[in-house]
């Protein structure tokens, strides 16, 4: 229920929540000040609690069926706080090798300095993850689908394995959004989101959130959030709250337009392969449909051309703009070649590097017919 107002106690009965753009809160007396100083729920200083940010946190926790949530100034501040809250020197982490690059950098490079070992996996099935477990494995970092190739991890089996072995699980659920998937429901311990994408939805916010049990969140609030201070500003929180009002109807539209466009592209001779978990042609389509209630608007396709053809294609797009990020009102195309990183993919039974011809698109709220037409005219320029 996106619009549940139980958490709101509107000032003067105002229909929209108030923006509390203040750094500190003042108290009427010595005793009140002393009492609030050590009360984790009191309004004392906005890095800890702020009514506008807290309202957003309550709503996000409810959306993910979690007990509590903490918002951060970016998706990376959120996921790094979640990771740090679980690990200590000597621990071992398992993560997919197609997870969001900065997340892999934290695990593989940054935390290495503090004595944390990381294994990066190809595998999407339970047996692969089982094989990677060591006696000191403390954390599974899950992200599904993967960034560019939309591989689906067998989340239920991998989570059961983690529970069996006493391993903590964190999942980045930004792609599916809480509308289409709730990781906590299958036993995952902590969910992280980049709020910059669908949840805020208007490409005007950078933010993140971690959601989970009251106990886990208590630690994150007390340690990582307070010590690293990567907090979300009240104004950003207000914009995210405003975005939540339309999250469900936006996701419906993103899903519908995206499936229409993906199917349209599948029929185009200049498109070699469309990679979208909602398509019957996706190798893990049945796994995807058993996990997700719906599909968001981010997917990839491989062009039947070379790098020059890919350039001609993206430069000819009129509605799709060239940019990173995703999940906004506007359609975006990202030619993966600009990352200058090999992207191995099995095409017709053979593993090849598809980086030059792989295009990731984020489908916005424009008319779906217009989006298909834009793609078609750009394909004709190859």
């Amino acid at each position: 229920m996106l619009l549940d107002e139980r958490f709101e106690e509107p000032l003067h009965g105002s229909a929209a929540p108030a923006l509390f753009q203040n750094s500190l809160f003042v108290k009427p007396s010595f005793d009140a000040m002393k009492h609030d100083r050590y009360n984790p729920k009191s309004y004392f200083y906005s890095r800890g609690n702020n009514p506008t940010v807290n309202l957003l946190e309550s709503k996000l926790a409810q959306l993910e069926n979690g007990e509590d949530a903490k918002c951060f100034g970016s998706g990376m501040a959120a996921i790094s706080a979640a990771i740090m809250s679980v690990l200590a020197a000597g621990d071992h982490v398992v993560c997919s090798n197609s997870a969001y690059q900065p997340t892999r950098d934290i695990l593989g490079k940054y935390l290495k300095r503090f004595g944390v070992e990381a294994t990066f996996l190809d595998a999407v099935d339970e047996s692969g993850w089982r094989a990677a477990i060591r006696p000191n494995t403390r954390l599974f970092l899950l992200e599904s689908p993967s960034s560019f190739l939309f591989e689906i991890q067998d989340l239920r089996a991998i989570t059961s394995l983690a529970i069996e072995k006493g391993i903590v699980t964190i999942m980045d659920n930004t792609w599916a959004t809480p509308v289409f998937f709730n990781p906590l429901d299958i036993g995952i311990d902590l969910v992280a989101h980049s709020l910059s994408k669908y949840i805020s939805g208007h490409s005007d916010v950078v933010g993140g959130v971690v959601i989970g049990s009251a106990d886990r969140l208590k630690k994150i609030k007390h340690d990582e959030a307070a010590l690293f201070g990567g907090r979300m500003s009240p104004f950003e929180a207000l914009l995210v709250l405003r975005g939540l009002r339309t999250l469900e109807i936006r996701m419906e539209q993103h899903q519908q337009s995206t499936l229409q466009l993906a199917r349209f592209l599948e029929d185009q001779p200049k498109v070699r392969k469309v990679i979208h978990p909602g398509l019957e042609s996706h190798p893990q389509h049945s796994l995807a449909s058993s996990l997700f209630k719906g599909y968001s608007g981010l997917f990839s396709f491989i062009l039947n051309t070379d790098l020059a053809g890919t350039k001609a294609f993206v430069d000819s797009l009129r509605i799709f703009q060239i940019g990173v990020s995703w999940g906004g009102f506007e359609s975006l195309a990202l030619p993966v070649a600009i990352l200058e990183e090999p992207i191995p993919y099995v095409l017709d039974g053979q593993e090849v590097d598809v980086a030059d011809t792989l295009v990731r698109v984020s489908v916005g709220l424009e008319d779906a017919e217009d989006l298909c037409e834009d793609m078609l005219q750009a394909l004709n320029r190859i």
Binding site: M1, L2, L3, E5, G13, A15, A16, G201, H202, S203, D204, L239, R242, R245, T246, E248, I249, R250, E252, Q253, I319, Q321, G323, G328, F329, E330, G364, L365, E366, D367, E369, D370, L371
Partner: protein, 389 residues
């Protein structure tokens, strides 16, 4: 030909002229400076809008351009509120000695202007029912300069025959202005039917998040220019760049929001009409709407505001309103949350009816239906109170 929804998202936004930012910046600058004497002189020479103190602002201008296109108009002027838009428009076209015709059922936002302010400055105002064109023709005078209407109207959602009224007015050189707030530009475009000026006296649907006030008028280049010079700039009720930016943000989801409002409202209107606690439903999308032909001719869709006449007395209205859980009590209209407005003492409706106005929000349709059914049952029987927390 690009779909209007696609255009709405992208037209008049030039990221590569704004530091590549995908969202237009908030240019909350009270004035704009020149880099040199020559640039200053050159701008003054060509009467540059940023230079010569006119209250134009690039962020507001994007919004105005988008609204103009949405209404199939040439130009738009935004205002700080709905009443500012109405006053700014009317005052640009009238002077002492003129006569204005106003439909009786226009929004209360227009009342102070037409009832008190205009007569004080020697402008005569006649109020007509306007449901028959003959009444309008009869009320016209030699010195009539303007006809003001709202269709569908704000409480009973009655409609006017726009083409007929525009025809009468055009043949006599009279300007027509309409408040199109209920339908929004997605569902009705009065300019297409010969009306001169379209006003949005509330931007609730356009902005959609119950967090800003504003107004707008759209029409031909010449008429909007006159409004800017003789109405808006005199009273100075400009829309702030921050508010304009919020409204641009709201427009991103206008189409998906209106679709949901329509879906839910059509179902709810049908359900209400069949309920024994309900006397009548006032809604252009209701199966028994009295002006079906006008609705077919002018409306492409139906927004989410309707009125319900309950059977019984004020006690029934009280029970109904207090039993609602998802509908907040307020004057709200077109926001994300559903609201209920008891219309008891409003002059715009049938005084003998027990009317409440509902604004259907973005909540789940089934949840809203359950909430309404429960409250209607309670209103009717006084039972089921134990279900209320």
């Amino acid at each position: 030909m690009m779909n209007p929804i696609t255009k709405l998202l992208h037209q008049f936004e030039f990221p590569h002229e704004n530091g590549d930012a995908v969202v237009p910046p908030i240019l909350a600058s009270s004035y704009f400076t020149a880099r040199s004497y020559e640039e200053w002189a050159e701008r003054s020479g060509r009467n540059d809008r940023l230079q010569n103190g006119q209250p134009d602002n690039p962020t507001v201008e994007i919004l105005e351009q988008k609204l103009a296109v949405l209404e199939n108009g040439e130009s738009c002027r935004c205002f700080a509120s709905g009443p500012a838009a109405i006053a700014g428009t009317i005052l640009a076209f009238v002077k002492s000695g003129d006569h204005v015709l106003c439909m009786q059922n226009v929004s209360h936002l227009a009342h102070p202007l037409f009832h008190e302010y205009l007569p004080r400055f020697g402008v005569e105002v006649t109020f007509v029912d306007g449901s028959r064109e003959a009444d309008i023709e009869q009320a016209l005078k030699e010195n009539t300069v303007l006809i003001y209407l709202e269709s569908p109207s704000p409480c009973l959602f009655s409609m006017h025959d726009l083409r007929a009224i525009a025809g009468i007015a055009q043949s006599r050189g009279i300007i027509t202005a309409i408040d199109n707030t209920w339908a929004t530009p997605l569902f009705q475009n009065p300019l297409d039917h010969g009306i001169d000026l379209v006003i949005h006296s509330s931007v609730e649907y356009l902005s959609g998040h119950s967090d800003m006030e504003g107004g707008a008028v759209i029409g031909s280049m010449g008429k909007v220019k006159q409004i800017k010079e003789k109405g808006a700039d005199v009273h100075g009720a400009v829309l702030s760049p921050v508010q304009a930016w919020f409204m641009l943000r709201g427009l991103r989801t206008l189409a998906v929001r209106m679709r949901r409002y329509q879906q839910s409202s059509l179902q709810i209107a049908r359900m209400l009409q069949d309920h024994p606690a309900v006397e009548k439903v006032y809604y252009p999308g209701a199966p028994e709407y009295g002006q079906q032909e006008l609705a077919d001719r002018y409306l492409r869709g139906f927004s989410g505001v309707m009125s319900v006449a309950l059977k019984g007395t004020e006690a029934h209205v009280k029970r109904f309103v207090n039993a609602l859980r998802l509908f907040r009590i307020g004057v709200g209209w077109g926001g994300y949350n559903s609201t209920v407005t008891p219309l008891g003492s409003d002059s715009l409706n049938n005084a003998d009816e027990m009317l409440v106005r509902l604004s259907i929000g973005l909540e789940d349709t089934e949840d809203l239906k359950i909430d309404l059914l429960r409250a209607l049952d309670y209103a009717l029987t006084g039972k089921g109170g134990d279900l209320l927390e």
